[in-house]
């Protein structure tokens, strides 16, 4: 436990000085501020409660931003240390690879938590400033925070996995960009294409709901959609929200971080510094 915390402490220092903390917070704060302020425009003065509206916009944003931040924090974690030559020395200390990985994960998870927390905090503050505290429903914000953390954790794990499998930092950065593009953009496009081609056949009924929740980004998007109408507004694929239930979405969001971290650990065990 002391070892894990020691690694976490060191990684937090590095993240702070590498400006990763600042970059993540600024990114989240900037986008959530803009979305909260601009999000009220279409609903006008008589529209939906501002917080709910903001949560919808921020969910769509987070699908892109949270995986990106997660991957940026993690892609360098193992391969970067191998390249710099710092991993070999670390491994001569009484410290297991699992402990190194967990220590790094806790640090990066905290960075994510601060970034997402600051972003959502700004949203809540701005919404209260706009509409007061009456009739304000905070539950969607808490749900968004928790699920965004799970989404981020999944992509941290995927980033570590990539980092343990390649030999050069440059290659790792290229691969995580491809992973990001596939998970948040191309996957949905592929599914939509398949749906259209299938035209309501077996694929649509049996395979599609599973494929949809299998992607943590989609599971996150679906779980945070407040109503089907709003879902249609924010994403074409969101219209299929009814195709899977909340339990499946939740399971996907919880299992992905565990699975990704486990695979990263397996790959890390094979790394010879």
């Amino acid at each position: 436990m002391t070892s894990i915390l020691s690694v976490t402490r060191l990684e937090l220092l590095i993240a702070r000085r590498n400006m990763w903390v600042a970059t993540s917070i600024i990114l989240m704060a900037l986008f959530t501020t803009v979305l909260t302020l601009a999000g009220g425009a279409p609903s006008g003065t008589l529209g939906v409660e501002p917080l709910t509206l903001a949560v919808t916009s921020i969910t769509t944003l987070s699908v892109y931003l949270v995986p990106l931040i997660g991957l940026l924090l993690s892609f360098d974690a193992i391969v970067g240390e191998t390249e710099r030559g710092t991993l070999a020395l670390s491994l001569t200390y009484p410290l297991s690879r699992g402990e190194i990985l967990l220590g790094k994960f806790v640090a990066h998870f905290l960075v994510l938590a601060v970034a997402i927390g600051v972003g959502l905090g700004i949203t809540v503050a701005l919404s209260i400033w706009q509409a007061g505290t009456t009739d304000m429903n905070y539950l969607p914000v808490l749900k968004l925070f928790a699920t965004a953390m799970a989404l981020g954790a999944a992509f941290l794990g995927i980033g570590y996995l990539v980092s343990a499998l390649v030999r050069q930092t440059g290659v790792a950065s290229g691969i995580v960009i491809i992973v990001w593009l596939v998970c948040v953009v191309l996957y949905d496009l592929g599914l939509l294409g398949a749906l259209v081609a299938d035209n309501g056949g077996t694929f649509t009924k049996l395979v599609f709901p599973w494929l949809l929740v299998a992607n943590p980004a989609d599971a996150f998007r679906l779980i945070n959609m407040p109503t089907e109408n709003l879902a249609v507004l924010s994403s074409g694929i969101g219209a299929a929200a009814g195709a899977s239930d909340t339990l499946q979405q939740l399971l996907s969001l919880l299992l992905w971080p565990v699975l990704a971290l486990f695979l990263a650990w397996l790959a890390f065990r094979k790394v010879e510094p």
Partner: protein, 297 residues
């Protein structure tokens, strides 16, 4: 019990045999120099002792434990060749982290930084350090928690002559405290008086493993004598002693260990015509050359 036991260890990378059947022991308090060309297998051997890479065959134990086990890792202090650290951290932050891993306290960190002469810079980021300063950080971390076995790979590279001297003082202190020290180096002259035993690797094999005087006896390398004469008749004296004249006054001679006393007696018999005699046994450099090349071929 030996601190480090290496028994008939081999390491193959595909068809390449990096280490072939090395057997070597290091006792508590012993300072052993591991010498060899680049690619001779020294670093691979150290990596196997650390458990960073498994041996293909043979057995290594560190204080009775397998390499890479928690007990072995807690007992070893390691300084890698070309030591590198994350530049965003300060020496003190980094060493405190390593100290926590080794179960050493923060005070020992400050003491060690003082000993390696870094206390003035310990709160500066390592990226601002010179190569020599980074090497000192490396040394300090290797000495954390009073290791029972110190593995030092090229420990003095990047250090100036005074720092090298101070470094060997640290090694002496460590050995006096019972730590077994295995260090590799290319700077042979500085090792000569600072190690108890010399092990030489060549093409993956251990070709020598003995204290320096013993290596000299085995190698049978000649002792060199430099005789300075007072008179102009250096040629006559050279003829009498059987040496070669260097310049007007000096004569170079070589002899084996067992002929040394007889030759000295002959020189003394020449009386006042001999002004001075210098005698030099085979240096570590000559021995190294002998064992790592000629001996193998």
């Amino acid at each position: 019990m030996s601190t480090l036991v290496i028994e008939n260890v081999c390491k193959n990378y595909g068809d390449v045999k990096s280490v072939r059947g090395v057997t070597l022991n290091v006792q508590p308090g012993e300072r052993v120099a591991l010498l060899g060309h680049n690619g001779a297998g020294k670093t691979t051997l150290m990596r196997m002792i650390l458990g960073l890479t498994p041996a293909s065959s043979g057995k290594i134990t560190v204080l009775g434990s397998a390499p890479g086990s928690r007990h072995a890792r807690t007992s070893i202090g390691f300084l890698p060749e070309n030591v590198a650290f994350h530049g965003a951290l300060t020496a003190r932050e980094l060493l405190r982290h390593f100290a926590r891993l080794k179960g050493a306290n923060n005070k020992s960190v400050d003491d060690l930084l003082e000993r390696v002469g870094l206390s003035h810079a310990m709160n500066r980021k390592i990226r601002t350090y010179s190569k020599g300063m980074r090497q000192r950080v490396g040394l300090a971390q290797a000495l954390l928690g009073k290791p029972m076995l110190a593995l030092l790979d090229e420990p003095t590279s990047g250090l100036d002559p005074i720092s090298r001297h101070e470094f060997y003082d640290l090694v002496d202190d460590l050995a006096q405290g019972g730590t077994a020290v295995l260090l590799s180096s290319h700077a042979l002259t500085e090792l000569e008086s600072r190690t108890d035993r010399v092990a030489i690797m060549s093409a993956g094999r251990l070709v020598a493993d003995a204290p320096l005087p013993e290596l000299r006896t085995i190698a049978h390398l000649p002792i060199r004598l430099h005789v300075k004469t007072a008179a102009v008749d250096a040629d006559t004296i050279a003829a009498k002693l059987g040496g070669t004249r260097m310049n007007g006054q000096s004569i170079n001679l070589t002899c084996q260990q067992d002929e040394k006393m007889a030759l000295l007696a002959k020189i003394m018999a020449l009386g006042a015509t001999v002004e001075d005699v210098e005698m030099r046994a085979a240096s570590l450099e000559e021995l190294y050359r002998y064992y790592s090349t000629e001996h193998v071929q």
